[in-house]
């Protein structure tokens, strides 16, 4: 319902301010760094304030409010766009603006030495604007437009250091892989528009997420006995698969770590990859409707979502175990956690998935920023085997990183990850289609704890492996003796956001506990009560115990292998590598998915491109080529004609004239006797004629 509340009317300001900052930032010169940073941070702060106001409004009136306007007319139809404010959007906006603001502040310190500082903030603001626009979109078309801009900024930011070929290639890869997903999304959009005639989500009953449209789609069946709603839902899910790095379109995320660490934190951990999950949440009514809705079985679209999420979660967790780059571990971890979010939405509904999304955003951003701090402190070193013992040298970073790691692992009771992951596992346990996602999720939890412990041990514990600096030296002494080798703590602009995020990583868990499921209630627009008894029902205590045990097991295993006997030198093989080199290597290579794609799809694409090139050159160009050849032939013929017939004819004519002249000139050779002979001959002939004439 359209509202006269001014925050709803001016909701568009939230994305518009960062967009404006980006627009102005594009015009700034390289030297105007402080102005660029100030512009970006100011616009983000304002957006944060407005988002808080919107959140307050949503708190007071937990209902869906939207505002539609006609945008473009073609023929007799109008394409409408609009924005909306509902609890989901409000929560997401607050999260995006807050985390974004912290990362913006962090970037000031991190990118201080980079000469393209202004361009960085311009792109960051552009991203923020597009992401916020995506969140408030009431139309699938507007969402898609913002989705594409987000993809564009991801490309720009991954390839920020474009002189590095690896970065440029990674950006290209990200764009192309997400494009494949976006194709599915576009097809789904077109199909949806064709079936329902509207792309607005909510439009007083006429929107495509509303009852009439959904029932129309559910009853309309296409080939394979699949309902139109399932088909459209799966196609839209394709977009989410690409954007959120689900199997099989996950290959771009690890390579996307080529971008600067704030980019990885903001885009590839907290927000952009969450856009896929948000999309699924937005079109959840479509995904959940099914012809068999009356029996209570989930729709086939949601089944697919849950399965893919489960497979992704385990796959990525396995691969993360064998990685050496600090950011790549976190990238695979993100893929894995996104899989969890998909499981959550698939089995448990929007609230379950979004709870994990919000929690994950904070602690993953924290982990990435912490990793950035570590990299910054180690002068750009990213290989964990080269690090070690950094907790003495970078204490604040260590503390906050540890908090984030524990949250990610799901350490019981005090960390947000525990509550959010438990909600997912609880919903998976209660899924009546299959228990396999539950088991996969549990295995994934174990692996998560294991690889995070491995990473923390490698980076922060043990001895410093890079160079020959021995351990007992105190940090201050080392800094004095060899500043290049010494790792140092990062400046306050970088550590302050870390601390804030760590705080939230702990606190946020409490908004979604079963004792007080506030977030779930808020999202589903119902009241949630504070009730400790809910902790005891429904098999929850056993589940919480089981997951806690899994986490402890993972932590213990990790500590036992890596913490107690850390490797001494950077070149030493990993313990697991020594035990199972083949499996370790396969995991390290991401189970060869990239290589598989290179062999099949890339080759196919190359062949198709070659064929198209051949077609272009010889068939479509054939006519002009033939014409050109014809004209060339005509020209050659003309030339030959000219040369051999006309010219030669002319030459021969002249020659014959000259020849005859030469011949005739022999008559006048100066020999008078010849002249006389001629005269005599002529006389004879003349006389003959005269005589003959006379007689005749």
């Amino acid at each position: 319902m359209a509202s006269t509340v001014w925050i709803v009317r001016y909701l568009w300001l939230i994305p518009a301010l960062p967009l404006l900052a980006a627009g102005i930032g594009a015009l700034l010169k390289q030297g105007q760094r402080r102005f660029a940073a100030a512009l970006a941070i100011a616009s983000m702060s304002l957006s944060f304030v407005l988002a808080m106001l919107a959140f307050a409004q949503a708190l007071l009136h937990p209902e869906r409010v939207f505002l539609n306007f006609p945008w473009m007319q073609f023929g007799s139809e109008w394409v409408k766009l609009g924005w909306m404010l509902d609890p989901l959007a409000a929560v997401m906006m607050v999260m995006v603006t807050f985390v974004g603001l912290l990362i913006f502040i962090y970037s000031v310190g991190y990118m201080h030495h980079d000469e393209n500082f202004t361009r960085f903030f311009c792109f960051l603001s552009l991203f923020a604007g597009a992401m916020l626009g995506l969140l408030i979109a009431n139309s699938l078309l507007l969402l898609f437009m913002c989705w594409e801009v987000v993809g564009l900024t991801s490309y720009l930011l991954i390839g920020f250091w474009y002189e590095r070929p690896a970065a440029a290639a990674a950006a290209k890869k990200a764009f192309i892989v997400t494009r494949i997903g976006d194709l599915g999304l576009l097809l789904g959009m077109v199909w949806l528009y064709g079936q329902t005639g509207t792309l607005l989500f909510y439009d007083h009953g006429a929107g495509c997420m509303e009852h009439s449209a959904l029932s129309l789609l559910a009853t309309h069946t296409v080939s394979f006995g699949m309902a139109a709603s399932t088909g459209i839902a799966l196609l839209i899910f394709c977009g989410a698969v690409g954007k959120s790095g689900q199997l099989p379109l996950h290959v771009w995320l690890p390579d996307a770590m080529e971008g600067p660490t704030p980019v990885s934190a903001l885009i590839h951990a907290a927000t952009m990859v969450a856009a896929g999950v948000y999309l699924v949440a937005r079109v959840y009514p479509l995904m959940s409707v099914s012809p068999a809705a009356s029996t209570g079985a989930p729709s086939s679209a949601l089944e697919v979502v849950a399965w893919i999420g489960a497979l992704t979660a385990v796959f990525a967790a396995l691969v993360a175990v064998a990685q050496d780059d600090i950011k790549r571990i976190l990238a695979y971890s993100t893929i894995s956690q996104l899989g969890y979010m998909m499981i959550g939405i698939g089995v448990g509904g929007v609230a379950v998935g979004i709870f994990h999304l919000i929690a994950h955003a904070f602690f993953k951003a924290l982990l990435f920023l912490g990793a950035g701090s570590v990299i910054h402190g180690c002068m750009g070193e990213q290989d964990i085997r080269e690090m070690g013992g950094l907790r003495k040298w970078m204490p604040v970073t260590f503390a906050t990183y540890a908090v984030g790691a524990l949250a990610l692992c799901g350490f019981p009771l005090f960390f947000s990850g525990f509550w959010s992951k438990d909600a997912i596992l609880h919903a998976a346990h209660g899924w009546n289609v299959s228990q396999v996602p539950f088991y996969l999720g549990s295995v994934g939890a174990l692996l998560t704890a294991f690889y995070m412990t491995r990473q923390v041990c490698y980076v922060f514990f043990g001895t410093r492996r890079k160079g020959a600096v021995p351990d007992p030296i105190a940090p201050s002494e080392a800094a004095a003796s060899d500043p290049l080798e010494a790792a140092h703590e990062s400046p306050t602009t970088m550590t302050a956001p870390l601390v804030l995020l760590a705080l939230f990583a702990v606190v946020l868990g409490f908004i979604g506990t079963p004792a007080w499921p506030w977030l779930q209630g808020f999202l589903e627009m119902r009241h949630a009560s504070w009730d400790f008894r809910q902790l005891a029902e429904d098999g929850l205590p056993q589940l919480m115990l089981a997951s806690s045990l899994l986490v402890f097991a993972g932590l213990g295993l990790g500590w036992w292998i890596y913490g107690r006997r850390p490797i001494k030198h950077a070149a030493d093989p990993d313990t697991l590598e020594r035990l199972q080199p083949a499996i370790f290597h396969a995991l390290h290579q991401g189970l060869y998915v990239d290589q598989f794609y290179a062999l099949t799809i890339q080759r196919l694409a190359w062949w198709a491109a070659s064929f198209a090139n051949w077609l272009e050159r010889w068939v479509w160009n054939g006519l002009p080529l033939a014409l050109a050849a014809l004209i060339q032939g005509l020209g050659w013929m003309d030339f030959s004609l000219d040369r051999w017939v006309v010219n030669k004819g002319f030459d021969e004519g002249c020659n014959s004239v000259a020849g005859s002249g030469r011949l005739l000139s022999r008559l006048q050779d100066g020999s008078i006797q010849n002249y006389l002979r001629l005269v005599g001959a002529a006389l004879a002939v003349l006389a003959l004629f005269l005589l003959l004439g006379r007689r005749g």
Partner: protein
Amino acid sequence: MSVPFLILAAVTLVGACAAMLFRGLVHCALALAVAFAGFGALYLNLGAQFLGLAQLLVYVGAIAVLIVFVVLLTRGGDNDSPPLSPAPRQFTGILVATAIFAILAWAIFHSFAIRTPGIPAPQATIRQLGAALMESYALPLEVIGLMLTAALIGAIIVAMKEKLGPQ
């Protein structure tokens, strides 16, 4: 066709042929003189007395002698003028001459001359000739006098040894 005519014609012919055939120039010149004499005799035979004697005077007496003089003056080197050699060029000349002769003979034989009977000789005395020259042909006479003068002067100038400057 009387016998004297035939004999005289033969002599003239032989002289002419000899003049054209001999190798030595002097021999040619002398043969020419014989031919000229033959001509004069023929004129006398035909009744043109003054003409015959004039022929003998001018041609034999002056022109033939002149030719002999010039032959003698231009001796040295090319004394032997090769006779008719069977070169193609020579052949062409003889061919042309033969053709001319053939045509003329043919013309003669097909003309009225064959049919014309012989008539007695006309009377052409010196007196008549002189009268004609002085009356009817006075202008030609003067002109020819002028021409002879011009020729005389011309020949002298042309044949004069050139007195060139510093050479």
